[in-house]
Amino acid sequence: MSRTIGIISGNRRSGYLQGIDKQRPLAAVPFGGRYRLLDFALSSMVNSGLRTVGIITPSNYRPILDELGSGKEWQLDRKSGGLFILPGVNWGLAVWDKVFLLKDIAKNFEYLENDLSEYVLLCGCNQIFNIDFNEAIAFHEQNHADVTLIYKAIKKEEWQTLKGTILKMSPEGRVGGSMTGEEATGAYMELPFFIDMVVINRTLLMEVIQGYVAVEDADLLEAIFENKGMLSIFGFPFRGYFARIESINDFFKSNMDLLNYDVRNELFWGVNRVHTKSRDNPPTHYSDNALIRNSLVASGCNIQGALENCIVSRNVQVAGDTHIKNSIIMRRCNIGKNVILENVILDNYVVIHEGTILKGQGNTPVVINKRAVI
């Protein structure tokens, strides 16, 4: 039995994804042709041997449950431990930017009480990565840490695009708080960027929650830093591929990253690959005149036209004499003849009629919402 239980913080809305995150929780946003954002955190947890994982869900949780099903694909349909759906609190607009809201965890306090594991691993729900958490947990144990924060070293100039927390770290790896990118001027070439993954002793987490029960919108990270004098906080570096989806540009760019062999290989191959729900689809059929370049295509499609630099989900139909470039086409879209699409994102079930032309710019892709008919 693993000595660590997981919590994925999925009670988040962003509203920054131009409608893609309107019809579904952020955790359930489709990614890479057949995945959802949630799959990445959940797979790494399961691959690292965690057998008890709780997912904090927002009130529109149905797409998350649809994806999780029985937890079977993730080895979590178990008698001891398993997958727990933890209803999050209903939040207003104010707190969209916080990742680990203590109220969300407090509402599910029994989850922490019922399992006698030593550590809790918390993780955000809108990040793309494949990590072996065992290394971070072993590091946490060796240092007798109270809290271990996982970070990725980023170049100073990257900080502008990756909004978030930079850790203040001592040379021995201790964390003394957070700073902004501006504060970190000059001193370092690389900045330790916190990637929303926390290892914390279970009893400490319970204490923190009880201590902050009265504070309306307290966040775990803030609470930890408020008490940094009493806690032994360490930072653990992650060196693999990492992307965070906060904007439609992040979404577009990190989908396109999958056209890179190394990224695909790191995420989707090997024993510890990212898992997702099994679908019973036939292979994709390419007809005589299909012309495909540098694209990722899921199963059950029927492709007669031309694709270049595209991410295509399952059961998509692309008719002949149609050219699609630099685009993300989600599940069950139906694209007619003589269509030209460039820098476009089509959500599920979009129908594009013959002769349509849609061209966006690289930094501002055209987003077509679910079930639109054009």
Binding site: P282, L296, V297
Partner: protein
């Protein structure tokens, strides 16, 4: 307590020896088909789609791959928690020692206890070797309506092929008057599909009688059905008009796969409804590289195509390197074809590694071999620059 109206007994022990190298490592029902399927997916999905929730799978030859593939049957919605579901039935040792399954009827005979446990009214006997989509409910309905003891499902075959099959001669009411196993002079072109519905008491009695006959091969087609006809039992034929094929030879296996690439494939795996389920490994979407060229082909999840693929089927996880040219071929799962290798009209097994600059099935100077199929067995490694001639089997 556990009574079921009908349970299915699925014969999955076939070695498929006429498939040569393709079934050296696995039983025929575990063989890949159409890229992402295995042959047994069709009969198991038929059961699920026909509301048959209890299936005994009789295995014997190299069963490990099949057992792990079937698991508890959940992939076909057949993991019944209320006593039904898929049950794997290998040969076993009883108090009087063990015995292997001889003919098809012998295999069922050894599992009479299993059938008794469910005490069904009807027993459906099917084979795990055939590719077809069939709603067994219609067959069972006809069986009930005619009041038959046994109903044999049959399909019309070309007259010139009839002598390869068990041939059924019915009267005007579809009652069977003659059953001839591979007759030299067939008087009908209705071929048995190896799909039978029996009333369970009739089947049980027949199995016991057949065991007592030392001359019997304990085979349904050769022995049990002729014996029942002789006893005057009511055997009816159920005429099935859709796609059905026994992929019993390399040629028929190749052809049935290739028919999926026709503009109107005779077997519809693409439409909704009556879905064929399979126990797939989770793999990412396939990747098509900047200089790839694909035409009229089926590509599965997890493939990487950097070269040219024409009129071919790639099973999950196949890697086609740059400069490769594949035509009219079937490449099974997790096989890698190295830089600039050329492959024509071949069936390449699972997890094969073909290194660079190889040439398989390419005719240069031996054009008379063009129609021959080249086969490569599972798990082989073919080294740089190897030349495998059309029709070779390695």
């Amino acid at each position: 307590m556990h009574q079921r109206e009908c349970i299915a007994m699925l014969l999955a022990g076939g070695q498929g020896s006429r498939l040569g190298y393709l079934t050296r490592r696995v039983a025929k029902p575990a063989l890949s088909f159409g890229g992402k399927y295995r042959v047994i997916d069709f009969s198991l999905s038929n059961c699920a789609n026909s509301n048959i929730d209890t299936v005994g799978v009789l295995t014997q030859y190299k069963p490990y791959a099949l057992h792990s593939y079937i698991g508890s049957g959940g992939a076909w919605d057949l993991n019944d928690k209320f006593g039904g579901g898929v049950h794997i039935l290998p040969p076993f040792v009883g108090e009087d020692g063990g015995s292997w399954y001889k003919g098809t009827a012998d295999a069922i005979y050894h599992n009479i206890d299993f059938i008794n446990f469910y005490n069904p009214i009807y027993v459906l006997i099917i084979s795990g070797d055939h590719i077809y989509k069939m709603n067994y409910e219609l067959l069972i309905r006809q069986h009930k309506n005619t009041g038959a003891d046994v109903t044999v499902s049959a399909i019309e075959v070309a007259w010139e092929e009839a002598s390869r099959f068990g041939i059924i001669t019915p009267d005007a009411t579809d009652r069977i008057i003659r059953f001839a196993e591979k007759p030299a002079q067939p008087d009908s072109n209705l071929a048995s599909m190896g799909v039978y519905v029996f009333n369970w008491p009739v089947l049980k009695k027949a199995l016991l009688e057949d065991q007592e006959n030392p001359a019997s091969d304990n085979d349904f087609g050769k022995n049990v059905l002729p014996m029942l006809l002789e006893q005057g039992k009511k055997l009816f034929v159920y005429k099935f008009n859709e796609y059905w094929v026994d992929v019993g030879t390399v040629q028929s296996y190749y052809q049935a796969n290739m028919e999926l690439l026709l503009p109107e494939p005779p077997l519809n795996i693409f439409g909704p409804g009556f879905k064929i389920f399979s126990n797939e490994e989770i793999l990412p979407p396939h990747y098509i590289g900047p200089d790839a060229r694909i035409s009229n082909s089926l590509i599965c999840n997890g493939c990487t195509v950097l070269g040219e693929v024409k009129n071919s089927i790639l099973a999950p996880g196949v890697y086609i390197d740059e400069g490769v040219w594949v035509e009219d071929s079937i490449i099974l799962s997790n096989t890698r074809i190295g830089n600039k290798s050329r492959i024509r009209k071949a069936i390449i097994g699972e997890s094969v590694e073909i290194k660079a600059n190889c040439s398989l099935g390419i005719c240069t100077g031996d054009e008379h071999n063009r129609s021959l199929i080249t086969c490569v067995e599972d798990n082989l490694t073919i080294f740089d620059g190897a030349l495998i001639r059309a029709g070779e089997n390695i």
